[in-house]
Amino acid sequence: MGGKLNTIKRVRKHFLLYDYEKEEQYLHEMHANGWRFVDTTGWRYTFERCEPAQVIYRIDFSGVPLSERDDYNAMFRDYGWEYLQDFNGFSYFRKSADGVKPEDLEIFSDGQSRLDMAKRILTHKLFPLLMLMLLLILPQLIRLIREARSPKAYILDYVLLGLYLLMLILYSVLFLRCFCGYRRMKKKYSAEQ
């Protein structure tokens, strides 16, 4: 397909933990517009030029370590899914929608297994995030507050305190947004059962 210069496209984009359905939809739309997904680093998506096609993307969070994926990979392959990559515990798959029944374009066939996946993200990703906040940021913050209140406080103590406060706020916002995402998905999947 000579002549075209732009055959690779990089897009800066990020999806939160519970926005995987939005991400699937995004990758689907890109492919329909002639951009095939190559890979993601979580913050940047790489696409390559292709013929526009109806391709379904699905993202799983199995909780299975990469070293124990033989059976898992074989099963998804048998079901017609092309494995693309793993990122942050999420596995990316795609399948051409051409002549395929809608029920064969899903990786979950009931609300319960979707809910199970949402819960796995909670225990593998969201709880560790909370632990990080409680164990690393909070004790430092308490120590810094103490130091800043002493008469011998330096300007640096205030700067550090400010930084840690900012970090705590950012972490809290991130955690709450993700947790709300979990609640949203839980409600949705429970209605499907």
């Binding site: 199995s62 059976d71 099963m75 048998d78 899903e106 297994s113 996946m117």
Partner: protein
């Protein structure tokens, strides 16, 4: 059979029932999915993620056990506990069928 098993598996989802029913023979996930599709004329579909998750859960709970590997695919078979649960389900469904006027 423990209370936990009873609470989780009795009554059972259609997906769970057919998987246990198929595993009276040694099978792997995808072939179970195909078999169930044939048996139900496509009415019951078990997708890849659901199949993988259900098999893992049933293995952990001791309803089925891993038998061997074939081309990287795990083959499973029902255990004694699994058979007990399955029989309970079959009796329940038979009763249901009788009570709605079946034979």
């Amino acid at each position: 059979m423990t209370d936990k098993i009873r609470r989780v598996y009795v009554p059972m989802t259609e997906t769970g029932f057919y998987i246990l029913f198929c595993l009276r023979e040694e099978m792997h996930g995808y072939s179970i999915g195909q078999r169930v599709r044939e048996m139900t004329d496509g009415a019951v579909i078990i997708s890849a993620g659901t199949m993988y998750g259900t098999l893992s859960k049933m293995e952990k709970d001791g309803l089925i056990r891993f038998v061997r590997e074939e081309d990287k695919r795990k083959l499973y078979r029902i255990t004694e506990l699994g058979t007990e649960v399955l029989d309970l389900e079959i009796e329940r469904i038979k009763r249901l069928y009788r009570n709605i006027g079946g034979v």
